[in-house]
Subunit: 428 residues, 2 copies
């Protein structure tokens, strides 16, 4: 039985430091729980001379990846570099050399998951930290909910945008002010587009969808729309209609295939996800046996992410000690079709700026009716000048019918602009 | 490599039927995920002749436990009989004969966990379904949050009382009406005391506490107080003070030992658990790395509970196929002390019925002050007749000081009664 499990850490940024600190501070309790010492043997960095505000053992840093992926004393390679390359090359080399792999890298898993699992053979790959930071979700989906046919997964899986939308909802801020505040607090980067345009959430959703439906979904399969067009007015109208606006990652298995889409959505205020505010994340799962289940917590940050990475290291270590691995490997047993976005069926909130004169609403309603879009509610408010604002919420309709109707409506002389179109989610 | 994993099912009540149906309906997907067929070989029942509304294979029922615990073709024994005996004897025999054990039995685990794990040696015991039905919580605590020092676990872990309190909160019902409604809907039994007096929650809390703090806590270690004294008035006052009343299972690790207590509590409305309504359960966990995490879902019912049992069966089966077990065994490595209830420190809500005349509040305030109980808020309302109602919320104080103050206050001539005392939880 192995007495020491060697870890090679690739990357010493925020998450890497969290992993380093956690493994150091908790050496004895980890040994107790795992049944062997877990020791960091080498840490791969780009610049070994840079100060990192933490005391490191002499000689533990290396700039040579061979010191990790080729070394026999490294049993588990932990990849927390982020980005696709060189993380992918290094991870593949580690797997080919028989190492177990733990990664927090959503970019890599959301695109190259298949390649990695093929290279792994029967070795362990764990990636709990790649989705929703400290919230247990990958292992619960793979193991605890394994007896369920899962029909939907809906997640608030980007903390930056959830913080911004929370501030916009509570304080009536506009998008720009909310972004500035998020940047001041360190929740948003200088270039916030990966968060605000939905790409960060889309990577996580690709991973969640693959695990939930046992079929590989990659980033390119996910429809993505960010929150940059959401205004304080939309949030106020939504509130009036008893909804809150959230950026959601939505995965559904339907008769016509899998839906995987990230976009802002009106969510009923009594939905469990509606109370998830600030930087918190949550993933709502509907299974045919378990019913509705939700996992809530911190989706990012040094220690929450390290919590997930170190738990994965401990699982990989336990398996190595027992001389077993790959008990839970790739779970994409099937190849399911992906539903084209035009075929999804949902309700829509539409805000229009129109000429303030009789007959306009009738014109618009006629176009909707012609395209088989039926309306559930209409709010009309006078604004300054010669324009009025109309907000409609439709009944369930196919995306392509709705888009057809909107195309015609945009061409109506009495319509100034279609100010916003937001899907509705989480009903029934 | 084994091609068939045999299951012996002990018990065919609500949960047993759910397990039977789930294993039957999902045979092929389970085989795909596990890597071998999982087959029910025998089902232990008390009366083999009784109709159960389900088509069973000829000869699968038995009234003889030896047909399960002694049979070589049974690899995993699934105990869903409930109650302590004979479930405990049968489970111990199964373990001693080298079977893996999956159980949904909170009564048995909350009292005899140690004995079972000792008998198991290196065999698997899984008990996810014993706490909070379909919500993954035991495995997440043991594995996903393994890198955390957990400081508190707070759960809404009894669906019956949560339903009743939700109805009392939303509709202003009294306890008796809420109970009647719960009974009509099948959420409460004819004798509801195990739910309303808190014992059901206490069993689950003993299990959660043991797993969270790595130290065995049994049912007798848990302080228990039910919801039978909660009135519509208490709920209305709590609401005025911006709290909601929930029956909580609370486990904390403090410098002076472990707290494990079940009682109704005032919870701030912005606490994640405050939005958990109706029969839903949720477990809130605070870890030093992950931060605040919450698990939400259905805590009972045929299929949610079967979801957890069958997932455990699948895990046990995977381990048997890989010829490994006990990777995650008993995690009670330590023996921590349990804090006496008198030493817990919290805030209190106290509702008093007093004589409606000058100076009474001063008398009461004097007694509180003398016992080092300081008051955070006071509400005084006139009631009919010669009595007034006073509600106070204290600052943090030791339970024994509070009880000392209350003893004196009950003796005051101007005090008609101490109508209720409810602890406050979930602040900070």
């Amino acid at each position: 039985m192995k007495k020491i499990i060697g870890v090679g850490l690739m990357g010493l940024g925020t998450v890497g430091l969290g992993v380093y600190r956690t493994l150091k501070e908790k050496t004895s309790v980890i040994e107790q729980k795992v049944g062997a010492k877990v020791e960091i043997k080498k840490i791969l960095v780009r610049d070994a001379a840079r100060s990192r505000g933490v005391e490191l053992e002499e000689g533990i840093l290396t700039t040579n990846v061979n010191e990790i992926v080729e070394k026999p004393e490294v049993d588990i390679v932990v990849e927390v570099m982020g980005g696709i390359q060189p993380a992918l090359d290094y991870s593949l080399r580690a797997l080919k050399n028989g190492k177990s792999l733990v990664t927090a890298n959503k970019d890599m898993i959301a695109v190259h998951g298949r390649e990695l699992f093929e290279a792994a053979g029967n070795k362990d790959i764990f990636f709990e930290a790649s989705v929703a930071g400290g919230i247990p979700i990958i292992r619960p989906l793979k193991q605890c909910l394994a007896a369920n046919r899962i029909t939907q997964v809906i997640g608030i899986i980007n903390g930056t945008t959830n913080y911004m939308l929370t501030r916009m909802t509570r304080e009536g801020l506009g998008f720009a002010d909310a972004l500035e505040e998020a940047q001041t607090r360190g929740y948003a980067e200088a270039d916030p587009s990966s968060d605000t345009e939905g790409y960060d959430a889309a990577r996580k959703l690709a991973i969640l969808t693959s695990v939930a439906f046992n079929s590989r979904i990659i980033l390119n399969d996910v429809f993505v729309e960010g929150i940059t067009r959401i205004t304080a007015e939309d949030i106020a109208y939504a509130d009036e209609l008893n909804f809150t606006i959230k950026l959601l990652g939505i995965a559904k298995e339907t008769e016509d295939g899998i839906e995987a889409r990230v976009h802002p959505a009106l969510l009923p205020k009594n939905h469990p996800l509606a109370a998830v505010n600030d930087v918190y994340n949550a993933v709502f799962v509907r299974g045919d046996a378990a019913g509705d289940v939700m996992f809530y917590g911190r989706g990012a940050g040094e220690l929450p992410t390290a919590s997930a990475v170190v738990a994965d290291i401990m699982s990989a270590a336990r398996n190595l000690i027992k001389n077993v691995s790959g008990i839970i490997g790739c779970t994409c047993f099937e190849e399911k079709t992906i539903k084209p976005m035009g075929d999804i069926c949902t309700r829509y909130y539409i805000r229009l700026s129109v000429a303030d004169r009789p007959g306009v609403l009738a014109d618009i309603a006629h176009v909707f009716g012609y395209n088989e879009v039926s309306l559930a509610s209409v709010i009309q408010k006078h604004t300054t000048g010669q324009l009025a604002e109309i907000v409609v919420v439709t009944h369930r309709v196919k995306e392509k019918n709705l888009q057809g109707a909107l195309k015609t409506i945009k061409g109506l002389q009495s319509v100034d602009e279609v100010a916003n179109v937001i899907r509705v989610e989480g009903e029934e």
